[in-house]
Amino acid sequence: MRAKELLPSLAVLSLLIALWWVIVIETNSAIFPTPLQVVTATWELVEDGSLWQHIGSSLFRVGTGFLLAVCTAIPLGLWLGRVDGAYITLNPIFQILRPISPIAWIPIAILWFGVGNASPIFLIFIASVFPLIVQTAAGVHTIERRYLRAAENFGVSRYQLFRQVIIPAVLPEIIVGMRISLGVAWLVVVAAEMIALRSGLGYLIMDSRNAGNRYDLVVAAMIIIGVIGLFLDGLMRLLEKLKTIRWRYGR
């Protein structure tokens, strides 16, 4: 069943690669690589071990920034969702900050944190924290009144209200928020690494171009970024299968 579903995608993908190959050969492009050249370039990176180093750096930055965002956004989102005064006061501010592209923060990140790891981590944090706050608060707002009424009726403590009603009720929204956030975070780390630093997949792209137009390496890095992004999303999708949130997705 699964393999059958994948078949059309794989067919189109093979077609695209074939088309790419034909066009590069037909146009006698001196710089743009063929798929084979990209594979060779990737193998080159695997052999000298630098590929793992770049992937590791990027993942470390995404992981740290994303975790910081999760630790900040979930409590903040729950609080905003429950306390109307806080929501009315802070929501407009988040709505202003949210549409500012994380790329626009790059100069400020460099100013505040220099060109070490802190800069991209900060950018990832900025990029992923707002969607998650908004999604969590919205999730709290959509909890059905009847559940809150029942909790009120049984006279449970605030702690039990959060642990057994609010958090499980919002968990599906939080997981959707985390998927969105992680997607944005991965998008941003690559962009952030293009500016400075000496490692990471974004750095690899800029460095390959600058160091003698190695477009085979550029395309190789792009494809690796895409594959890892797909893998990260798959990881977040696994969370949707948790037993405690399956109620949300019907029978």
């Binding site: 009424r149 009726n153 049984f154 949130i245």
Partner: protein, 246 residues
């Protein structure tokens, strides 16, 4: 019997499109300790609003609700509301739902108590199921057992079985009666189903159309289990329907 619930002259209006809409216009009633009182009324007559006020979920504009002589302002575990749409938590298992209201240490072994009530309402074997795996009738049983587990003095039931199909609704009435034989509770039931009221209640109050007032009171002197097809029950039903203008 002492009066458990004393409702005196409750009034409630809502403001809709800058117009004042009176919903409840001076309702007074008493429910004795251990009594089962049913309130019947046409749809949209303000029954649910009245119930929310009595259970403490909505403030009243005028009048007051006394439970055991104490003014009721907020809901508490001594009176549990079971409503039409149900409020079984879908993210908790049946057993966890039944244990939800068991707060503090006075309940002893909570899991054991939960399982006892699960068995009482016919949920034995479903303790570890999740609500999405259960049918509508089963969910009602969970709701009922969760309420009974905290040993409330009053059960407020707002059209509890109206979302079920006719057969299941009939079955749940019998079940409820059986449970009430085992554990005596004061019950206030709101329904638009006259048969349901006659089968379950000791006394039936008929509510007028909006703004609602109590229009008539009927005693139901039949012994349980009741046969709705008996001539006395049929006569009572016709009298109630006449009050409802049907």
């Amino acid at each position: 019997m002492a009066d458990k619930i004393v409702v005196s002259n409750i009034k409630k209006s809502f403001v809709a499109n800058s117009e004042i809409l009176p919903v409840v216009a001076g309702v007074s009633l008493t429910v004795a300790n251990g009594e089962f009182v049913a309130i019947v009324g046409p749809s949209g007559c303000g029954k649910s609003t009245l119930m929310k006020i009595i259970a403490g979920f909505e403030p009243t504009d005028e009048g007051q609700v006394l439970i055991d002589g104490v003014v009721r302002k907020k809901p508490n575990p001594n009176g549990i509301l079971i409503s039409q749409h149900g409020s079984v938590f879908p993210w908790l298992s049946v057993q966890q739902n039944l244990m939800f209201g068991l707060i503090g240490t006075e309940h002893g072994d909570k899991a054991e108590l939960a399982d006892h009530y699960a068995a009482l309402v016919g949920l034995k074997g479903f303790e570890n199921s999740y609500p999405h795996e259960l049918s509508g009738g089963m969910l009602k049983r969970v709701e009922l057992a969760r309420a009974l587990a905290v040993k409330p003095e009053v059960l407020y039931m707002d059209e509890p079985f109206s979302a079920l199909d006719a057969l299941m609704s009939l079955r749940m009435r019998t079940e409820l009666r059986r449970v009430l034989e085992e554990e005596r509770h004061t019950v206030l039931l709101i329904t638009h189903d006259v048969d349901e009221a006659i089968q379950l209640a000791d006394r039936i109050l008929v509510l007028s159309t909006r703004p609602s007032t109590i229009q008539a009171t009927f005693a139901v002197p039949f012994a349980h289990p009741r046969k709705l097809s008996s001539p006395e029950a049929q006569a009572l039903k016709e009298a109630i329907l006449r009050e409802l203008g049907v």
